[in-house]
Amino acid sequence: MSAEPIRMTYREACRQAIRDALSADPRTFVMGEDVGLYGGCYAVTKGLIDEFGPDRIRDTPLAESAFVGAGIGAAMAGMRPIVEIMTCNFSLLALDQIMNNAATIPHMSGGQFAVPLVIRMATGAGRQLAAQHSHSLEGWYAHIPGIKVLAPGTIEDARFMLKAALADPNPVLIFEHIVLYNAEGDLDPGVSEVDIARAKIRRPGRDVSLVTYGNSLPKALDAAAELAGQGIEAEVVDLRVLRPLDDATIFESVGRTRRCIIIDEGWRSGSISAEIAARLADEMFFELDAPVRRICAREVPVPYAAHLEEAALPRTADIVATAKALVRPQ
């Protein structure tokens, strides 16, 4: 590409994506707690109320279930809403609407009604917000048929996934990681869309596949760099889409490396990492040369104290150590 790369933060990328969406389609509006006057809990929507007015950047009362349900109804009746649930920690209050209505009505109505709704939420730990504000529920949501689940791990995905999500006729949940909002990076000016059906190989390698997403992606990339210094070529696969999973890309990578480590900030049991390992144990059983390892959050409510929070989350060092033991067993 000839043009200059554009430097911006993950937060700015999310904001620009919303700005584009509102400009492109009059049926689109943003609704959620503090998206307007306050500028968004994580400042993603800052300034947008001045540009688009309070009807299209709509502050809601604290009423997660009702405003998510309202987003569902509005989508069924012709709008293209972007509902922001401040963080996924509060989305539990809206889970009935998401599972029993958004994910169910299109099928249960025999295809008469679609729910072209996008729900954005912040996710993840790492800022010492303690147990009730540190959940990583995206992998858990990926259990639900009838929705799509996206987890942008790069500035580019933060910038362009929303457009694809709004073009999708189904309910799409987008999980933005709180630690990534301040991440800065260069956008290739030649790129103006991303594929929300496919995972993406962020770094090629032949010895082991590091399958991950979200804020574990930078950790996996750091680990891969460190491993390279020790002669181990790790391939980093960014899932990007947690539901439906892109088996093809994952299987193709593991088929070549014959080893897989899944890194996931969610709790281990019944996580998205479990699903990937299960699919490998079924469909790639004969291609695997080593056990499928998982590096997940410890199964605890994430504590406030820095050293405990750090210990509760996946660490680059764990990835490096696990990869070395897998590739060069004693």
Partner: protein, 328 residues
């Protein structure tokens, strides 16, 4: 009988016919349930017909409806054809929901019938959202949202009432207060048993009416819809009514007495209206016979349509889990 509505010969017949259609459709459903052709839950509207029929008189084609699992009456009164409804009861692909929803989940996009929702309170936020879209896209359209008094206990009721009012949305909240939520009487489940007063807590206009009188219901619904279309925001109607039969098919009714049921049956909206129309010589026995024959024929046709229906191909099981496009 209230007469705020001009009840002429034609209109009297309409109200009677619409209520009878529901009553007889459900009587047939019970038969088919006993014959095990209908399975799952079956929640009858028996006794409450005046509410759906009265409210629907005030609605137009552009308006939308959100109902509960007790949705037979709402769908029929809204004008969803009986054949596809009966086919749905039998789980046929010709059903209004391709046989996937059954009794609790009638859907019909053509008449803006946004479905029977089986999560108590679950339909209210959806109705609020439909009204948001209508306010933006279909000037003057109203969404009628039906729910039982039990739903008023749920947090979603509270949240939805507030959203509708602060955003002045065109929602008609219709609370079908039949005094029981399954087996839980209103008195032990609500601190405020005058449900319509709950509207005050949201500064929303609300009134209580006799839900056993279709004319009174229609009159109130017309007042409410006029106010909503005038841009005054949502409106709340508490319709006092009664369910003559069990909550669903598995219910020993330990929570209420035969006497109470008998007392309410004296106020049967169908019998009352029929009597009144005859006494006032507005209609003749002959017309009633004609009307009943016509309904019987409609039901026979619906059953024939349903029986002749086919089962959805199992290969299509996953179809519409994810949609390929938004239906126009």
């Amino acid at each position: 009988m209230s007469d705020k509505v001009h009840l002429d010969h034609a209109h009297g017949l309409t109200l009677l016919r619409e209520m009878e259609r529901i009553r007889r459709f459900e009587a047939k459903c019970v038969e088919l349930y006993q014959a095990q052709k209908i399975r799952g839950f079956l929640h009858l509207y028996d006794g409450e017909e005046a509410v759906a029929v009265g409210v629907m008189q005030a609605l137009e084609e552009r308006d939308a409806v959100v109902a509960t699992y007790r949705d037979h009456g709402h769908a029929l009164a809204r004008g969803v054809p009986m054949g596809p409804l009966m086919a749905e009861m039998l789980g046929k692909v010709e059903g209004c929901s391709r046989g996937r929803g059954g009794s609790m989940h009638f859907f019909d996009a053509a008449s803006r019938f946004y479905g029977g929702n089986a999560i108590v309170g679950g339909g209210l936020p959806v109705a609020v959202g439909i009204a948001m879209a209508d306010k933006a896209l279909r000037d003057g359209a109203v969404t009628a949202c039906f729910f039982g008094e039990g739903a008023a206990g749920e947090g979603e009721f509270h949240e939805s009432m507030n959203l509708a009012e602060i955003w002045k949305l065109p929602v008609l909240f219709v609370c079908e207060n039949n005094l029981y939520a399954m087996g839980v009487p209103l008195e032990i489940s609500e601190a405020q048993t005058d449900v319509f007063r709950k509207a005050e807590g949201y500064r929303m206009p609300g009134e209580r009416i006799d839900g056993m009188d279709p004319v009174q219901v229609e009159a109130a619904a017309r007042r409410a819809v006029a106010s909503i279309r005038a841009g005054n925001g949502p409106y709340f109607l508490e319709c006092r009514t009664y369910r003559f039969r069990a909550h669903s098919m598995f219910d020993a009714q330990l929570y209420r007495t035969r006497e109470e049921i008998a007392l309410w049956k004296e106020r049967d909206p169908i019998a009352r209206l029929r009597r009144w129309l005859l006494e006032t010589h507005m209609i003749s026995d002959h017309e009633i016979a004609e009307l009943e024959a016509a309904i019987a024929a409609e039901i026979d046709e619906a059953v024939a349509f349903a029986e002749a229906g086919t089962l959805e191909d199992v290969a299509d099981l996953e179809r519409f889990v994810l949609m390929d496009e938004v239906p126009q």
